[in-house]
Amino acid sequence: MITIDSLTKTYGDTTVVNHVDLQLPDSGVTSLIGPNGAGKSTLLSMVSRILGADAGHVSVEGVDVFKAPSKQVAKKLSILRQDAHTTARITVQELVEFGRYPHSHGRLTPECHAAVAEALEYCDLVDLAQRPIHQLSGGQRQRAYVAMVLAQDTRYVLLDEPLNNLDMVHATGLMRLLRRLADDKGKSIVLVLHDVNYASVYSDRIIAMRDGEVVHDGPPEAVISEHALGDVYGMEFSVHTVGGDRIAAYFR
C-alpha cells in the first residue's frame, strides 16, 4: 500500500497539491482524472520522488520514499513519465535491460535476462528488440518504455498520461496491457488519464482531483456520474451505459 500523508507542493503563491491524504491499493488499476492544473501529475511525481514535496510524507509499504535509499524505493515503485525521450543511442533491448538496474547494477544475471525476455514478449516487442528506439513510432516507443518498467518488476507502477500522442488502436492496446498486468501479475497500476472513458472502462478505482485536492474517490460507478464529473470539470456530461460500461459524453 502507498500511503500519502498531507502531501503539499507550492510554486510561489500557487498551491498545486494541497494537503492530499490518500491510500493507493496494492493491486488493481487506479486512475487519476481531473482538469489541467489539478495537480495529478505533480502528485504522481512526488509519490515517485522525482519531485521534492514542500510538506507531507509518502511511504510505500512502510518505506519513506524521500528518506529511504533510492535503490530500495526503485525495487518497489517505478514511474513512466511523458518527458522528452533520451538522446542516448540505444536499442529496445538495451532500454529494457536498464529496467534491471535496481536489481543487478548493470551486471545482468540469468534472472535479469529472463525478466527482460518476458517483458519484451509481454509488450509484443520481440521483433523490434534490436531496433534503435529513435527509429520507433510513438506507439512502439511507448511500449518499449512500458517494457522497461515491466522489467524493473516493481509492485507499484505509476504512469503519467501514458496515452498522450497515441491513436485509439495503440491507446486501447496499452490499456489492455496494463489491465492484464494488474490481473495476471497482481501489480498496482496508478495512472493519470485525460480520457475519462478509458478510466471508466479499465479502472477499479477512480480518483478525481481539482485545484490540488481530491474531490471524488471511488469505483467507476460512483465517479463516472453526471453530477461528479460536472463537479470535477465544471462542464456538462451525459453518462450512458454501453455494453455494461459507463460512458460519458461531453462533446456538445
Partner: protein, 348 residues
C-alpha cells in the same frame, strides 16, 4: 592492440559463460559490435603511426637527446588527451547534451583564477618556498571545491535549458578571466613573474615538472570514472529515469563534478586552457561508436584525443616548423565545429 583490449571491455560474467541461453541474449549489450572493433583497430593503427612519426622524425642520429625528451612529451600529451576527453564525455552525459564542455562552461578559467588568487593572496615570497607539487595539489583541491559547489548550483535539478547553461557558462568564463586579469594588473611584478612560469603552460611549453603528480591524479580520476560507467549509462537516460531506476542522482552528480574538476585541473596545469578539443573528440567518438555505453565512448574519445594531439604536434613541429601553436589550431577547427553544432541544434 584491439584484440588485447576487447576482453577487458566485454568480459562476460560467470553466469553468462555458464548459461548459453543467457549468453545468446546478452550479445546486444556486453560485447563490442564489429563496427566498434574496427574503430578500435583503426584508432590503434593511427596512434602507432602518429607515435612513430612524432618519435622518429628528423632525429638525425641524436637518439639519446631526442627520444627521452619526445617520450616525455608523448606522455604529457596522452595525459592531457585522456583528461580532456574523459571530462568532456562525463560532463556531456551530466548535462544531457553534446554541445557543452567543461571548457565552454568556464572550468579552465576557474582553475586559472584559483591558481592566480592563491599566488595573489599568499604572495610570491611564500609561494616560492612552497614545493610546486604542493602548490598544484592545493590548487586542485581548491578548484574541486569551488567548481563542484558552483556548478552543482548552476546545473540545479537538471531542468535548465541548454541555452541558459551556455549563457551562464560564457558569462562565468568571462567573469573568471576578468577577475584573473584584474589580479594580474594589481599584482606585484615579481609575483606576476612567478605566476607566469607556472600558469602559462602550452603545448610548446608543457609543464613537465607536474607530469608525475598529474599522471597520478589522472589515474585516480580514470579509475573513478570507469567504476561509475554503469551509473553514467543510467544517467544518459535522463534525470527522471535515472532516479526511477534507483540512482542517487544528487550524490552521483556531485561525485562526477568532483572528478571533472580534478581532470580539468590536470590538463590545465600541464598545457593551459584548450577550449574546443573536448567538444571535437567527444562528438567524433559518439559518431564512431554509435553506442550509449560509456566504457566504449570514454575509451574511443581518449584514443581520438591522443591521436589528434600527437599527430598534430608532430605535424606542427616538423612540417609547419613551429609556425603556429596546436592550441590555436584546435580552437579554430573546434570553434567552427561548435558554431556548426549550435546552428544545427537551433534548427532542429
Amino acid at each position: 592492440m584491439p584484440q588485447r583490449k576487447q576482453p577487458t571491455l566485454a568480459l562476460p560474467t560467470e553466469a553468462e559463460v555458464s548459461d548459453p541461453a543467457a549468453r545468446a541474449s546478452a550479445h546486444s549489450t556486453r560485447h563490442l559490435t564489429t563496427r566498434q572493433k574496427r574503430v578500435f583497430a583503426g584508432l590503434a593503427l593511427l596512434l602507432l603511426a602518429a607515435l612513430a612519426l612524432f618519435l622518429t622524425w628528423d632525429v638525425n642520429g641524436h637518439w639519446d637527446f631526442a627520444l627521452p625528451r619526445r617520450s616525455e612529451q608523448v606522455v604529457a600529451l596522452t595525459v592531457v588527451g585522456i583528461a580532456i576527453a574523459t571530462s568532456t564525455v562525463v560532463f556531456q552525459t551530466l548535462t544531457a547534451n553534446r554541445i557543452l564542455t567543461p571548457s565552454i562552461m568556464g572550468f579552465d578559467a576557474l582553475y586559472v583564477l584559483v591558481a592566480t588568487a592563491l599566488v595573489f593572496l599568499l604572495g610570491s615570497a611564500t609561494v616560492a618556498r612552497i614545493d610546486p607539487l604542493v602548490m598544484f595539489a592545493a590548487n586542485t583541491v581548491l578548484m574541486m571545491g569551488c567548481a563542484t559547489a558552483l556548478y552543482r548550483w548552476i546545473l540545479g535539478n537538471g531542468e535548465r535549458g541548454l541555452y541558459t547553461l551556455i549563457l551562464v557558462g560564457v558569462v562565468a568564463g568571462t567573469f573568471f578571466s576578468s577577475l584573473t586579469n584584474f589580479m594580474f594588473r594589481t599584482m606585484d611584478p615579481n609575483e606576476f613573474d612567478s605566476l607566469m612560469s607556472t600558469l602559462f603552460a602550452s603545448f610548446n611549453a608543457i609543464d613537465t615538472t607536474l607530469l608525475g603528480i598529474g599522471g597520478a591524479m589522472l589515474m585516480v580520476g580514470i579509475v573513478a570514472v570507469f567504476r561509475m560507467a554503469g551509473k553514467l549509462d543510467v544517467l544518459s537516460l535522463g534525470r527522471e529515469r535515472a532516479i526511477t531506476l534507483g540512482l542517487d542522482y544528487h550524490r552521483t552528480v556531485t561525485w562526477l563534478l568532483l572528478i571533472i574538476a580534478l581532470l580539468v585541473s590536470v590538463s590545465t596545469a600541464l598545457v593551459g586552457p584548450i577550449t574546443f578539443l573536448g567538444l571535437l573528440v567527444a562528438n567524433l567518438a559518439y559518431q564512431l561508436t554509435r553506442t550509449h555505453r560509456h566504457v566504449i565512448n570514454l575509451a574511443v574519445a581518449s584514443l581520438v584525443a591522443i591521436v589528434a594531439l600527437v599527430a598534430g604536434q608532430a605535424i606542427l613541429e616538423h612540417v609547419l616548423d613551429h609556425n603556429g601553436t596546436l592550441g590555436s589550431i584546435i580552437n579554430v577547427v573546434g570553434g567552427l565545429y561548435f558554431i556548426g553544432l549550435l546552428l544545427k541544434e537551433a534548427r532542429s
